[in-house]
């Protein structure tokens, strides 16, 4: 199985584990989409990389330790960006009534698996 197919497989599993997710984007840390199910993936990938890069820097500057995730919360939902190792970014969008704790639990595990492949 090619790396791309393996990544697609992980994306599919994540969608099954968290069906409430509105979109999932896996990108490089410099903002290029790798696998996704989002309509506007190039733009989301760039923004996810920016959010992660800035989140890491804020975490470092304010002595919060290693970054776990960057969360954007709007009235209608969440956009959460996780580091997938040094090279990757996992971004998910979820509705406002989603269980954020469950999303973190699942997404962190998937991010670790993605990190092995990227």
């Amino acid at each position: 199985m090619s790396k791309q197919e393996q990544l697609q497989g992980i994306l599919k599993e994540l969608k099954q584990a968290l069906p409430e997710l509105r979109s999932i984007v896996v990108a490089s840390t410099d903002g290029l989409p790798i696998v996704h199910d989002a309509g506007d993936a190039p733009r989301i990938a760039a923004m996810a990389a920016t959010a992660l890069g800035l989140g890491k820097r804020i975490s470092q500057t304010t002595e919060l330790g290693a970054l776990q995730e960057t969360i954007v919360r709007g009235n209608d939902g969440y956009f959460v960006v996780y580091a997938a190792g040094d090279k990757g970014v996992l971004a998910v969008a979820a509705p406002a009534d989603a269980n954020l704790g469950l999303i973190h639990l699942e997404a962190r595990g998937f991010a670790a698996r993605l990190a092995q492949l990227l």
Partner: protein, 174 residues
């Protein structure tokens, strides 16, 4: 005197992060990520660079943008409230001049502020001179300054010019 916010922008690889690292008097806030495409360098800015610099009594806040167009949303975010703009282009990469001109036109249409174009790599000939780049871009000569972003005495020159222009034509810079 109020601090002045200056935006440092330009195409990828122009020397924006380098210039801010060379000049900043305080720890630079940078957001480098590994470049996954061939852009002639290992790391690239994904969110912003930030540094501070005094020119005489005047404190400047330097905000550097990412260079790749996919991060264009950050250009607007960072340019908000800026009172001056330094657009850097690599003097040995004329293919960047057109995109730089379009970037400058776009940013000035959104944020009409005093601006200077800095032509980097003047220490590494063959390189286009600031006069040649001014002609190419159709800009007045005084708005284009040559520099070497790794040398503090040289890197500060376009900011000195920008500050002069900000003091003279602070209202629009056009």
């Amino acid at each position: 005197m109020e601090p002045l916010k200056v935006i440092v922008t330009g195409p990828v690889g122009a020397g924006k992060s380098t210039l801010i690292r060379t000049l900043s008097e305080t720890d630079v806030v940078d957001t480098d990520a590994m470049a996954s495409e061939d852009i002639g360098k290992a790391m690239t800015t994904v969110a912003m660079d930030y540094g501070t610099l005094h020119l005489g009594d005047q404190l400047l806040y330097l905000f550097g943008t990412p260079g790749q167009e996919r991060f264009d949303f950050m250009w607007d975010v960072l340019t908000e409230g800026a009172l001056g703009m330094l657009m850097l282009v690599r003097g040995d990469r004329p293919e960047d001049f057109g995109p730089a001109r379009r970037m400058l036109d776009y940013l000035l249409s959104q944020h009409p502020v005093p601006h200077v174009v800095g032509v980097t790599r003047q220490d590494r000939p063959p390189v286009w001179s600031p006069e040649e780049v001014a002609l190419f871009l159709g800009l007045p000569k005084e708005r284009v300054v040559g520099l070497n972003a790794t040398d503090p005495r040289s890197a500060v020159q376009p900011l000195i010019r920008l500050l002069e222009l900000m003091l003279v034509d602070g209202e629009s810079g056009r």
